[in-house]
Symmetry: C2
């Protein structure tokens, strides 16, 4: 076992664990640490570097979660296969701006008398940066008026200044590499998927995780795509099950899968990229919908940033990080698709109002977005921790999926009821919950074992969570 | 020739010519005046009613323009066939709120050094109700904040209050009969057409006028529809040329055709409605994009209001009447399609930001919209009259189409140049114009005779129009 060359800079802005992480990651990617090699124990490295053991633990944990290292019980940490990565030089360290994410579901506003709304897709409406938002709206309006551009249709892909701000944010926070010219801003993910359907030749067969984000599934069905469901495990989509023929598109959420919260490790990401490179016209749609809210370690870099960007279509949204009602998503098109976009769809006017675009642009440019994300991450982390702790204590909780990220937990219950019956009973107790069965694609149903509830915590205070879980327990136990 | 029973109420709010128009229209619709019957001469009726001759002329002209009467030179006015109308009882008289319309084209912002922008699709940016708009934006934002609904996704079809306001406006101004429940608000006409493509079974064959609004044509192509071009004449689409088989959808602009400005007379409207009723699953898409700006007579009522509303999908936009950058259109779905919408597309979140929706809602509810339309109609009428007069004097103008409505004139030139060459030459003189050839559907090209330019006057003052036409003349004569 060779000695690691980790140089720490205690005056740097980055945390020590981030520096260790970045240094080891670079060593792996550049081949100085090779596949299968064993790393020093955390205790040993900590003493070499004169840092605390927990600092090294945090760095190792992050590398494990991103698929660079593998932990073998009682034996230590080993380097995973990674030498085959095309290009991974965006190694500036992820000075992530901290951003929140919001889950997706429950689009229609609930009008029922619900006391505890555990539906996913809720963002906190108390802590929002109302003043900053109002200020940005007002300034954007005045600017548009004074430049006499308020009334004129803007650029079909969206305002250039906004695309520039999004590209900078995506690079810094998500490792996405793109020019503003590659960004298309649109009124929601579903609209952008419909647009993609018009860019790509003919109807396609798309592979999706099951369970998945069902709105995307229905959108594909609506535009005449065939959908092939691929199973999930704790590492996300089982890429080894991707059919060799027929499928030319993969829709995947590698950084934080909905609804299970799995993070796809490096090995599978590479398999995906290889799959895409192996056939002409193959594309991966990377839906990075809620990568902003991670409560442990650093965010998982995007798949798009790993590859040569020829095969990955990156899709993101402000629904979670700002608000669902802003109706703004964005996608990064690889260059060949950009040409197809211009030819086939360049005549479409942008689907987002110019005022809203310029408001979001100011929100980003003036630093409000970053501050908002930092604040909300703290708020959501506390709620996440509270909910996780409450549930961990309960004998009726069988297993919890997707912790330490996002705005919901998927909770498998030791309970004889079906999900539907459980949700109905909870509703009678004043609790809105969503079962996970509804997230499965036709033909790839949930195994009929225990019920799994998606418990969103985005808009519930810690006190409400405490009461809500108690009431949920009453509902479960009343069975 | 029987004597007409026209009762005039000089104390009524409606103009005398409107009362005469409404009375005769009712007589025709209810069969008291039958097909082929000859009306008294304008002079005779004027003396009977003791009104001026020009008052009766105005009423007759409106009835002719709407297809109720036909004028035969030297012989007088005759009633057209109209007894077969299904239901036409929304006969309250068109107390039109007065609304402006804006032409469609030139979506991308022009960055060239253009001194006179004659492109269609421009709205005046000096006379807009900036203060009212700012006030509505501010109030909408505060209301959404205080009701804690700013952050939440709204109704998939759009805010109910906005749909109610639009339904009321459409009824009063356009004779459209619908419940707010039938309205779907979306980010632009093209988005709504894409949505329609998902509602309707399978890919269809759609008939369109040629020349037409080419964005709609390209949208249909993009969603896999076959397009069948139907010729135009001065009465709009030649409905007699609609194929008996194969076509199950007609996209048409009966009230003010783009780009030629034709108004479809009653006879053809009835043919269209009969065509739709003759086959199952047939629909007419009535694009009523710029019916708000008429400078002579009253607006032509919508096709949707004439029928039982089972076969007409009504499509409208705020791009012209408010501003292109607001990105908001609406469609009225017949009940059977409403069910399909809910089943297949109900999961899509609205594509329009909630703030923008509530801003427009206040703009409508508080009467600003009506006032803005009244004002803009005056502004645009003056510009229209100026341009028409300027062009009428020119020997190089061969013919003018589409006068007395909309925000552009289609001008056929006595000039040996091709449209492209002419547009390029005009551009060299600092003038942006669009040729009409670009509005023709593939396979139904413009006959290669004289060039036709679309001259938009929406954002040119009268002085600019005067100078601009002079410069255009220089460009034309320099050939």
């Amino acid at each position: 076992m060779k000695e690691l060359l980790v140089t720490l800079d205690t005056s740097a802005k980055a945390f020590l664990y981030e520096q260790i992480y970045a240094s080891l990651r670079r060593d792996i990617l550049e081949g100085r640490l090779s596949c299968g090699e064993r790393l020093p124990s955390a205790r040993l490295l900590a003493s070499q570097l004169q840092v605390s053991r927990s600092t090294v633990d945090a760095a190792y944990a992050q590398l494990v979660s991103e698929g660079y290292l593998k932990a073998r019980r009682g034996s230590g940490y080993y380097v995973c296969e990674a030498g085959e990565l095309y290009d991974f030089t965006n190694g500036k360290g992820w000075n992530i701006a901290d951003e929140p994410v919001q889950l997706r579901a429950g689009k229609k506003e609930e009008q029922l008398s619900v006391k505890y709304n555990f539906l996913p897709g809720q963002v906190d409406d108390g802590a929002f940066a109302y003043n900053a938002w109002r200020k940005c709206t007002k300034e954007a309006l005045l600017e548009l008026e004074s430049s006499r551009s308020l009334l004129r249709a803007g650029h079909p892909q969206g305002e250039y200044a906004l695309r520039r701000a999004i590209a900078a944010y995506l690079y810094q926070a998500r490792g996405v590499r793109c020019e503003p010219e590659q960004l298309v801003i649109g009124a929601g993910n579903e609209y952008l998927l419909q647009l993609l359907g018009q860019l790509l030749d003919g109807p396609r067969k798309v592979a999706m995780e099951s369970p998945t984000y069902l709105q995307a599934y229905h959108t594909f069905c609506n535009i005449g795509y065939a959908v092939c469901a691929v199973s999930m495990d704790e590492e996300g989509m089982r890429t080894q099950e991707l059919p060799a023929e027929g499928v030319s598109l993969v829709y995947v959420m590698p950084s934080h899968q909905f609804p299970l919260g799995a993070v796809m490790p490096l090995r599978r990401r590479i398999m995906l990229l290889k799959w895409a490179a192996a056939g002409s016209g193959r594309y991966i749609i990377e839906d990075d919908h809620d990568s902003e809210f991670r409560y442990k370690g650093r965010p998982i870099p995007s798949l798009q940033g790993m590859a040569k960007q020829e095969h990955v279509i990156y899709l993101g949204t402000f629904s979670n990080s700002i608000m669902p009602s802003v109706r703004m998503s964005y996608m990064v098109l690889p260059h060949p698709l950009l040409k197809a976009y211009e030819t086939r769809c360049g005549f479409y006017a942008s689907t987002v109002s110019r005022l809203v675009q310029m408001t979001v642009c100011r929100f980003l440019e003036q630093g409000y977005f970053e501050r908002h994300l930092n604040k909300m991450r703290g708020v959501y982390r506390a709620r996440h921790d509270t909910l996780l702790q409450l549930l961990n204590d309960k004998p009726w909780v069988y297993r919890i999926y997707g912790s330490y990220a996002g705005l919901h937990l998927a909770v498998e219950l030791a309970c004889p009821l079906t999900e539907d019956a459980l949700a109905a009973r909870a509703r009678a107790f004043g609790i809105a919950v969503q079962g996970m069965s509804g997230c499965y694609i036709a033909g790839k149903k949930k195994p009929d074992e225990r019920p799994v509830l998606l418990l969103g915590f985005g808009n519930l205070t810690q006190a409400q969570l405490q009461e809500g879980v108690q009431v949920l327990e009453d509902a479960v136990k009343s069975t």
